[in-house]
């Protein structure tokens, strides 16, 4: 990943160009394409959302950006994450489908685990922990252990942990999909509240178009097998938004229709 401090890339934080990812099929040995020439740019302060059906390779894309998986450079694709602070390396925060907390550490120690990993000076830790715990609505839970918290609260800790490193890019992989709908709805509202305070740059993955339209300002629609981005829409509705807002609701309806027409066309193509 190239390092760019003086930000010669304008406002771009994540730049994906023609990225392709193939996996060998263990049965046949034949390669199959998971991601097919994906291109997208996320600019500083943007909330970009990739929407696609389950199993379309969305998480693979995030894992490549996070550095847990590699991509095929031989196909000419590139992936760059640019730092917009004084740090040489870009900071990547990741919120997974499950909270992935270290259950043997307190809430506070889970957050300082990320801060220490990112080599953030120790004298900033307490301030960061307190600030972001309050932001996710968990003030006073510093000394509690994750297993004493509900699933929704655990996910809030995971969000606070990712925000605390003040990431250049915050990756979120269907972070509310394992929560019940009422909790998820509350979390979406609270995330929007956070956006208005902290203004992080987010790449958010979901299979829920309503969620994407409600939260994001850029939506990338992804088809499956192989995963291609077939449409990019800007959502120009100011925050705070309401899910019942007719503008939001109409856009969601329109996109759902479009999605099905693309998926149906693909199904016919596949025969």
């Amino acid at each position: 990943m190239p390092i760019d401090q003086d930000n010669g890339h304008g406002n771009v934080v994540v730049s994906v160009n023609n990225l392709t990812k193939k996996f060998p099929n263990p049965m046949t040995g034949k390669e199959f394409v998971v991601l097919d020439s994906i291109s997208l740019d996320v600019e500083k302060g943007n909330f970009a959302s990739i929407v696609g059906p389950s199993g379309c390779g969305k998480s693979t894309l995030l894992n490549i950006i996070a550095g847990i998986e590699t991509h095929d450079a031989s196909d000419g694709g590139t992936l760059d994450v640019y730092s917009h602070s004084d740090d040489a390396q870009p900071r990547v925060g990741y919120v997974f489908q499950n909270a992935r907390l270290l259950n043997w550490l307190t809430v506070e120690d889970n957050m300082t685990f990320a801060l220490e990993s990112q080599e953030i000076p120790k004298d900033l830790w307490k301030e960061r922990v307190d600030k972001y715990l309050e932001m996710v609505g968990l003030e006073g839970q510093q000394k509690n252990y994750p297993l004493n918290l509900s699933g929704g609260m655990q996910q809030r800790v995971a969000i606070a942990r990712a925000l605390a490193i003040e990431p250049d890019i915050l990756l979120m992989d269907e972070p509310f999909s394992h929560l019940d709908e009422i909790t998820a709805r509350k979390m979406r509202f609270d995330l929007m509240e956070i956006l208005m305070h902290a203004n992080p740059t987010i790449l958010f993955i979901t299979h829920d178009l309503g969620e994407a339209v409600f939260l994001a300002d850029h939506i990338y629609m992804m088809s499956t097998k192989p995963a291609r981005i077939f449409k990019h829409i800007e959502v120009d509705v100011p925050r705070p938004r309401q899910p019942e807002d007719p503008e939001i609701f109409d856009l969601e309806k329109k996109l759902v229709k479009e999605f099905f027409s693309v998926l149906d066309a693909q199904a016919i193509e596949d025969g």
Binding site: L102, F113, E116, L147, N148
Partner: protein
């Protein structure tokens, strides 16, 4: 009465009932050489604790020797077992070659392992060490290997995305996940170790609690054999409950069930 207090009082009554039964059985039998009464054993125990024993060695000396041997051999067996278990988790070659041998070691009767060890290495500290390592290490290795396999990969990925150093990964992600396996190996291994050490001492390694069993057995002094056995059991129960259970409790205080008890 709380549920816990009821449980404790039932347990205590059960032990008292056993002692009463024993007492009347001893009186009915009326042969102190076969079955002395619990009261005479209690007197014998006090005698053992306050008077110097045979060869001028006190009870504390023998207890010290056995504990020293137990901790030393236990430490070696645990360290070896953990190292082998981790190596098995990291390398397939080691996993398969060790897995081929472990059933042999686990099937071998403990008493035969002690026999072999003292035949090869004599009635010495090495003999008891080899016996303990031969029996305990394979068990520990298997347990740690299972722990290494059960490691949650998603947490490792999480740590890597935050760019945790290798040291942090080991200290905060790997070891805490292995700890339950280390503790369960620890408890089981400790219980096996002191039994093997006592057995090796009974066979003839100089001094220690097992040596005293055998000494009084040869004199056919049932009172003192039983007094030593009971002291030995009480000592090990105290160690297991007072020391290890507390350690375990402290290590797992993040578990909700453990917080309720405190």
């Amino acid at each position: 009465m709380s549920e816990k207090a009821t449980a404790v009082s039932i347990r205590i009554s059960s032990i008292i009932a056993l002692l009463i039964l024993w007492h009347f059985a001893a009186i009915a039998m009326a042969d102190a050489e076969i079955l002395p009464t619990p009261i005479s054993i209690a007197y014998a125990m006090v005698g053992v604790l306050v008077e110097p024993g045979p060869e001028g060695k006190s009870a504390y000396f023998h207890v010290g020797v056995t504990l020293g041997r137990t901790f030393m051999t236990f430490g070696v067996a645990m360290v070896l077992g953990i190292a082998i278990g981790l190596a098995m988790g990291l390398r397939k070659v080691i996993e398969h070659s060790v897995m081929a041998l472990i059933p042999l070691a686990l099937t071998m009767p403990t008493i035969l392992m002690v026999f072999l060890a003292v035949m090869w290495f004599g009635f010495s500290e090495i003999g008891s060490l080899v016996a303990v390592v031969g029996v305990v290490t394979p068990y520990v290795a298997v347990n740690i290997f299972q722990g290494a396999q059960a490691m949650d990969k998603s947490l490792i990925d999480m740590a890597i995305t935050f760019r945790a150093s290798r040291k942090m990964l080991i200290r905060k992600v790997y070891i805490p996940q292995l700890l339950p396996y280390i503790f369960s190996a620890f408890r089981f291994a400790f219980g096996m170790t002191w039994k093997i050490v006592a057995l090796a001492e009974t066979f003839g390694i100089k001094y220690g609690i097992g040596y005293m069993f055998f000494f009084w057995f040869e004199q056919f002094n049932m009172e003192l054999v039983l007094a030593w056995i009971i002291m030995f059991v009480i000592l090990m129960l105290i160690l297991e409950h007072a020391v290890f259970a507390r350690l375990e409790h402290a290590a797992f205080k993040w578990r909700p069930a453990n917080q309720l008890q405190t």
